[in-house]
Symmetry: D3
Subunit: 188 residues, 6 copies
């Protein structure tokens, strides 16, 4: 149960007289996330779950770490636009527009480059180099949400029927079963 | 280039004295869409592209037709919540919550049932029966957008790199090439 | 006391881990409402009062049934635009723009036609035919509200002073008393 | 054709370098409106039509003058809440809640009293005294709109069918014709 | 702890059946505030703290009294645009645009004049005459907030470091100490 | 004259078929701004003026560089909340709540710390150390605006009257003239 936050900048749910400076603070964004996983990336989120004072204020941050050849795989934020800047390394990034064009806008980003991923569109970042990469991303919601496409479609709990996915992705059901198995770690 | 619409309910871009009743009207939602396609479904959209008077008013409609065993495959609306009611037939429908739960909420809907798909979440409808099905959907935007997951990920123009998709979906690159080929019709 | 709803798509008031698929579901929109009343119409609403999961999501549905010569009399939704489609029969519909033009935009709708009633404007639907009619309406609020003009003005509880209404409608007070009596069923 | 306004507080449509102090100014709210009309009241509006700089800023003002026994008859603002304060005289004011309660909240206001009329609800002010009254009202929209119930329902252009209104107000059609005639001044 | 208010116009936190007319009412705006203070002005605010029914409705009022040569010193409303009208006397008013122009828009207002102060911009009113002045202001928030620049910068609790303020205002630290002392009444 | 931007994520003003990847891109945030100025700091902004594709998307970025003992002096963003993270060095930061408390919330931030400055509140960052410092800030508006308090109050163009400022800051007019002179570089 989320107990909403502080009052300092408008009517919220807590007596402003009891708000503390810690309600606006988070520590640790200088530390690399653990990228020892299948995608080779890690997201450290700083949103209203970490900083209660963000309640009603419409913004949050995240740090993304990428191992060499690591990627933040295709995903969407259902409630936010993202703006990202590269602190270290290089990234190949892109987003795809909605139907019917499904046009890929992609670009190689180097240190100091900034890129925008508009609200709700599928996007990704790929570290194609031999060194690690680091990015800082800002999102236009206190609680943007993340939907990683492959995990959500093939690793939901319970699973989406194989018949539906086979037809959606135009593959046979055996292939769907194979992909489902890769994401079984996410299921209960 | 979108030329925005009428003035009747607030300041927009056209002299309200020249607004016509046709600016608030659309005809033809009683006609079935053509479901002779791979997914066996058809969406007839009625949004600001069809009714200029919807500009600034935050709502639109759609009719969805489903052939037997047809489906409206997993997709998202980047800017809208959807509420759907079944006019004819039965549908197995669902949506999946965001990370980390990726919980599938699913249900069989019969005639007269109503279901909500919250903004930006992946959802689908599947006609598991031997008869056609029909639904009416309303969306909380004049221009909700549609992102069909498989088409967008595997049929974008140009294609997303096979390396990225192979790692994202945990399959080998040959399989990605195979799926890409299924969606080549969407690419230029 | 409204206890707000589920968490699935953003911070609301209930632990998302306890959300149920029933929180997004309603059953019965295929059943005709009872039109045996003075206006010859019935509205079956499906909003946040029926589907708790609509909380914060900005949309709702309604089914409207019309007996022959029945009507959904002039009314407004104080917090929503409406988009309506005719499932069966024919309707004469209209809305009136605000001061000083007070222009009536009206049209005969047949099966499959769609019409928009912009937020807060007075509008009506009249079944001028000898058969029943059915429409589905979507509204751009989880809780659009309905203000039926005649009932609200002449059937409020307690009554608005007859002097005020006589002058407003430019009739004598006896006539106001007469109309008040017609709506006494609505008063306590 | 509305040409939108100035840039000072955010992206609008005009070069901020050409904005003038006059774009934020209006003169004359100290002058009484002419209350020599059937309702015995006059509204002097100061919204985006008078002050271009209000564009996108969500607020406007109005002065209302009331002759003895004059009234601002039942009306709604489709896009705004109103907050009113009495500068001179006394007013009996009220608003009615939406269906199904249609509860009248009313009160006598004296000099210095403040009252709120929530968005989209029918409300009125009546000067029951023998002296003139003056009020200042603020509205939560640059372009709130006004729908005077009686004028809009019985004085629209063209007229709403007498059959519809007779049934809506539960009177015979002759009475509707009579009322229509009172508002013929508003029709073309 | 703010307990939110009434339900009449949308889902809020209190059973609408228990809402009272007093929840929409405030009394006393005809009475002059006490201007016997250093700035020679007094603001009487009427917002959601005074009228619980304003909750969610996006508007509030205030009366401002000015002694001869009194002023409402430079301040901002962090969450609202202000529109002000002069009831009595004359005022020299102004606002300054944001960086880099910092352009002063100023004007002398007489009785009945109206002026707009866009959201978040620094603004002031000065009564340069020998008579008192009175204004009514409306603000586009139920809880607009007030930040009086000098009091906030030099009278915060605890104080901002003198080094920071000396550099910001390009004065020596002794001067900052002097100004701090003037505002010590505001500190604990 | 601002010519608004691209269409990719909703109806804007330019044909989406002509949108380019450059409309979502900016380069150079890795380069330090020039801190050789009186305050010893430099802000490099990346908002809709630099990235046209941010139009309607509600977010922007900035890099802030601080020389040793440099500061980003007390300022406000009239249309945005800010969330900041320290990339290098240490900063003493704070914001002050609105009247009547004017409470200072302050904290020393080290590398990796994150802090929130709520919308419209006065805030500052001071590099109290002997090394340079760097921060990345995200803001909840495509066009947040910046109002540096001292520059705006004492360096506006034309100047605010010395009488007004002397009374506001409780200093004599000679002191105001002195401060005005420090900011004459900003005036025309």
């Amino acid at each position: 149960l989320y107990v909403c936050a502080v009052f300092v900048n408008g009517f919220a749910c807590k007596d402003p007289k009891t708000a503390l400076v810690e309600d606006f603070f988070f520590s640790g964004l200088h530390m690399a996330g653990n990228t020892s996983n299948k995608q080779g990336s890690a997201v450290t989120a700083v949103n209203v779950a970490q900083i209660a004072g963000l309640n009603t204020l419409g913004i949050s941050l995240a740090r993304v770490d990428y191992a060499p050849y690591g990627q933040n795989p295709p995903h969407i934020h259902p409630r936010a636009t993202e703006i990202l800047t590269v602190l270290e390394g290089s990234l190949y990034v892109g987003f795809i527009t909605s139907n019917p064009e499904n046009k890929l806008f992609s670009k190689v980003l180097n240190k100091g480059d900034v890129f925008v991923f508009p609200q709700g569109l599928i996007h990704f970042q790929f570290n194609y180099g031999t060194n690690k990469a680091i990015a800082i991303a800002a999102l236009s919601s206190k609680n943007p949400g993340v939907i990683t496409i492959a995990n959500t479609v093939f690793g939901s709990n319970p699973s989406i029927s194989g018949d539906i996915l086979a037809k959606a992705f135009q593959v046979d059901k055996k292939m769907v079963d194979h992909i489902h198995a890769q994401f079984s770690e996410y299921a209960t």
